[in-house]
Assembly symmetry: C2
Homo-oligomer: 206 residues x 2
Amino acid sequence: MVEEVTVLSHERSLDRCAGTTVAFNRGDIIFRQGDFARHWFEVVSGVVRSCRFHVDGHRHLTGFFYPGDVIGAESGLYQATAEAITRAELLRNDQCSSHTEHLNRALRSAQQCIYLFGHRSAMERLSAFLLSIAQRSGRQSTEVALPMSRADIADHLGLTIHTVSRTITELARRSIIATEGPRLLRIIDMSALAHCAGETEPHPNS
Amino acid sequence: MVEEVTVLSHERSLDRCAGTTVAFNRGDIIFRQGDFARHWFEVVSGVVRSCRFHVDGHRHLTGFFYPGDVIGAESGLYQATAEAITRAELLRNDQCSSHTEHLNRALRSAQQCIYLFGHRSAMERLSAFLLSIAQRSGRQSTEVALPMSRADIADHLGLTIHTVSRTITELARRSIIATEGPRLLRIIDMSALAHCAGETEPHPNS
DNA sequence: CGAACAATTGAATCCTTTCAAAGGGAGTGG
DNA sequence: CCACTCCCTTTGAAAGGATTCAATTGTTCG
């Protein structure tokens, strides 16, 4: 296809599969699980979630995708449904023979998800989740926007909305975070949060 | 079982990175998390596990790899440590520019892991795990070999060895499976097992 | 302002973990 | 060949944590 395209925002434009920008509204489906994977996408703005539905109706949110993240790079059939949870712009690209790097990023994203689940307790999972969101959400790392609902977080972490809510409350009670409305919070003690995530826990005491 | 073929056993030999066969004994490390990813591997025989260690010592087994599976296809640093849990032969390949398909398989493997974690209860997780093992272990699908220990299964599913053991016992009590020693079991009622893996929740009865 | 939906909180239940101990193979040495 | 040990697995009972059920509070938007 064409090689020089201004649309590509980042510097790793090894590929010639120039993308076209597509805009989605909150709630729009970007692609569906089981459809043939004709395109892969890079998030430019907004947040996208990917989810799989089980037979009993319960869903599993396999990931949240922020600007710079790649989604749908798999070949064959899409393994999950992707949906915009805020207004979002995505770069849509045709599948091309060599998109190694995007596959790599998709793989890393999957491994991040696996990492989250490696944590056992609700506190560990939520803390690790908040840290990963803080890293990616772009703002000053202390302010964390939560564009997704508690239900989304719960389905991502394998918890219930009640447990998610309680755990957030508990973190606020300990002054590790501060809530500023349901969709925005501030990290007060980053190292304590990392501690809760289980990353720095040499000896167990309280 | 495994037939003797030329170096590349399957037909997808797009790549010129012809592999050399390497043999590992039970317990041998194949590569370590954090090392530079110089090679990627395809399992020819045996079973390999990949795991990540958290700072507090607890580990998470991110996957089990059977013949045909690809491991270590990521670029940069290895994201997990790979270890043979039976005597195993692997095809070692140099990283080459285009290994799209192997990345794809690695991605699918990661997504399989994510899928497992989408299940909530111990019963759901273990049932889904047994089904995935049964599909991949190659034998007649009713006989399932478990080359890994209960501890490995527990760390893979985010449970304890006690819960794993209890859940297996419970499945046997219901005659959904039959155990023939700790490392071998037979699936008696495949549809019931699938039911346990996905549809158990709606209405609880005895 | 009120309706509809989202989030929080309380109390009881259920499930998993933890603590503790017994059973079962495989391998070693007498 | 058998006794013994070690390690893995299984099982029991109590404790802890997440879910469920139920209700309240908070937020958004017409």
